[in-house]
Subunit: 232 residues, 2 copies
Amino acid sequence: MSTELRYYYDLMSQPCRALYIFLEMTKIPYRRCPIDLRKGEHLTDEFRAINRFPKVPCIVADGDFHLAESVAIIQFLAREYPEIPDHWYPRNSRTRARIDEYMAWQQHNTRSLCAAYFMYVWLRPRMLGTTVRPERAEQIKDEMERCLDFIEREYLGRGSKFIVGDEISVADLLAACEIEQPRMAGYDPCAGRPNLTAWMGRVREVTSPFYEQAHVVVNKIAAATNAALNKL
Amino acid sequence: MSTELRYYYDLMSQPCRALYIFLEMTKIPYRRCPIDLRKGEHLTDEFRAINRFPKVPCIVADGDFHLAESVAIIQFLAREYPEIPDHWYPRNSRTRARIDEYMAWQQHNTRSLCAAYFMYVWLRPRMLGTTVRPERAEQIKDEMERCLDFIEREYLGRGSKFIVGDEISVADLLAACEIEQPRMAGYDPCAGRPNLTAWMGRVREVTSPFYEQAHVVVNKIAAATNAALNKL
């Protein structure tokens, strides 16, 4: 068991929010080390000494073990804190394999596709002054929607309450936090997807109040975007 | 422990080669189920019943447990066959975390960037008749080279013999098989990278003759591409 854990994060980042909710829900003791991506705090020499990659989330355990990548961090914490409730990352070999399968699959699906839409439509125009080409936005949206429809149908359309089985796991935290991201660009991932809508509600309910805490800024930006779109 | 394991693969796929070498090296008993991607065998209804995603690699354990994603498969097999040598996926929590970190990191780095070059320059023109735009090829090459330079410097430039520590692990199999891929498009990943060159040699040596077996077609295509380039 790690005796001291520092967590570096920015709640604008999807996996950072998932890990924040995970740490709060499991009551793993940790020290909050916020990093402001918009101020470029992850690009300083000081931060590069913490994480060579350099990005968030990352952790430092016991003062000397530096680890990046949300999936690897979750797997490490599950080993180091075996007392956390089993449902987060079950020991049952097949259930765990199904969660690992989702965590690998999401990398080129939920994670990259929802982020791509948010970045192209919302972030890059604001940070880099780029123009949004409607046909390119539509193409990126199509790819994201194919992924969301797959989740609606394959992961949530076969009677299970959560991504893997009927109990919440780390797969749900990672999935929900990614799916929240395009809301900031004015896209409603729940529209026309009843299974996803019900599941998002369950994830929010089970992880309250930490889910809301993690999404304060996301919700604020999503509301502002929707207000601006409604004026058009 | 699984009593019966079926492995679906095509050695043109990088993670399929890594898993093939892993299965052969660890002597995990399995049945070979080759799937020819070029013939579209992964797109048949029969194969979709085996893997909903539908892609290779995937496994079926004990006749009823279907699992995709190379990383999840490796983690599952390490649990199901605890007798395999520890160095492949060490139980030591920190060492395992470092391997998990690489396996997550590679998804948007070694895996996607080396594949992107191979697909843009070699595969898509042959499969889809697309044209290679030199400036786009150069851009994709730059991204791949930044990744290879990072591996040369950060993973292999700090005195360790393998990606994580001095013993070979699943991280090396995944990394080496990805880095072989652009050779088919005429790119030599070893040129100007002495650490990578020495490491590739070690991986090949330790995993002989399975590494060569896995790369028969890759080597044939790479030789043909180089012969064609030399004629230009």
